[in-house]
Amino acid sequence: MDVLNELVAWFTDPGQWSGPAGIPARTAEHLQYSLLGLLISALVAVPVGLLTGHTGLGGFATASLANFARALPTIGVLFLIVLLVGIGLMPVIIALVALAVPPILVNTHEGVRQVEPALKDAALGMGMRGREVLMHLELPVAVPLIINGMRTAAVQVVATATIAAYVGVGGLGRYIVDGQARQDLTMMVGGSLLVVFLAVVTTLLFAGLSRLLVAPGLRALAATGR
């Protein structure tokens, strides 16, 4: 098992674990881009989804836009934006946002839409204003689905942030890109394993987050739901 031995050697080489090209530094870059991309996406998608869900307006537009964005090849978006604004971090973040917005937007919209009409009737009938219905009823009930969307987006973003290496801003993608260039299979597999590991950690993190943020009364529903 040469590959395995070489991988072990690659991971255990002390040189791998320090310096600006070491695993810790690359992981930090990778996480930084992912987090930034996800954060911007959430800041855009959650409010828009809440608004379209609450008003019932733009539901079709939201879904169409999201499907369109889903069909975009991320690497294509990256190169297109590089052509427009030049190399740097910005094209990477924009490409990641284009990737992460659709699942968050669609889930937020759907999460608000699925609130039973009887509950909205009760909320309005008790004298809640539109904003109060949104904040006290629709948002809390939509939280499980929103977190679900964020998790999907986060895993995709972590896996896709490797593209940062194509435009020279580092991240774990460097191992894959450099490994490919040097025909160094060990390096490519090592980099990929790190990305997979991060994706798994991300999933676990969101599982914990949903425990924290979903009201206990909704957990039984969330467990059966989508």
Binding site: A118, M126, G127, A215, G217
Partner: protein
Amino acid sequence: MITFEGAAKHYPDGTVAVAGLDLTVESGRTTVFVGPSGSGKTTSLRMVNRMVAPTSGTVLVDGEDVRSQDPARLRRSIGYVIQQAGLFPHRTVRDNIATVPLLLGWGRSRARARAAELMESVGLEPSQAKRYPHQLSGGQQQRVGVARALAADPPILLMDEPFSAVDPVVRTGLQDELLRLQAELRKTVLFVTHDIDEAIRIGDRIAVFGPGGELAQYDTPERLLTHPVDDFVESFIGYDRGVRRLAFFPANELALREDVLLDDQDTVERALNTVDTAGQPWALVVDAQRMPLGWVDVDRLRHEPSGLELGRLTLTAYGHTFDVERDSLRAALDAAVLSPAGRAVGVDPDGRVLGVVSQADLGNAIWSVS
């Protein structure tokens, strides 16, 4: 007081939900809107808290047009209970009940104290305060729904088919609870149902809505049963209205027979003497505390050894009894019809036998009140 003045709701497609309602709902009373589906009863109710805007006419609360108030503010001053409770799944029972007080800015601790108070008055255990709606039964959820509507102590309570989604036994319990609460609180209750029995049971006044959103009759339950204005109302009430009307006459005016009561220590011989003197074919055996044990008939007694104690005989079941002080003629009649002896057993609140009444005697009593 709630006044409907020519309140109508026409939809753009030509459907008439409410044809133009003129009606006054008295304060401190329970008024029921009853009718088949599509008769406009729910639409009319929802005009009161502006959940529906009439296309013509007005609705006034205490003389003031509801449209002169901000809808949210108006709704906070009117309790609202809907079918299947409509509780917020993410909030505990306590916080569900505290919804309106929190909207009114009472502060959390005062709102929660109020919620605890209400849980007690609607018959919920304090231990249920921190539970979530999905952990409660349908009947319990509806109790929370009622408590939530009462939280800010509104003078008016709108109840839109609140008990229609629970089973009949639970529904009766909820109706009893509402009657008890209402006797204490004296709210202006407007209650919508499609169940005429429920309407008669809880309403002080009943508005029967007909097809096309027309008000067919507005009367007391008793008047409705004795004088339905037309064929529609009569068929909607059902053809046993004569029997139902008996629910309005107390059973305490019945003449109960005590001369056919026998002690379980009595002998068969003594029993035969008693029934012969009374001229009755059946006698009721009771124990030392006058609790009923069962019926025994004359033919049977003639075949038993004369020295035998009645307590040693296998008696005929006495069926269900009626409470002389609290039940109506209807309950007494029902007990007599179901009794194998054709006689109903009247008891006091502790279940002790006061006397028995035969179907024939009941017939006379019914004749005299009709």
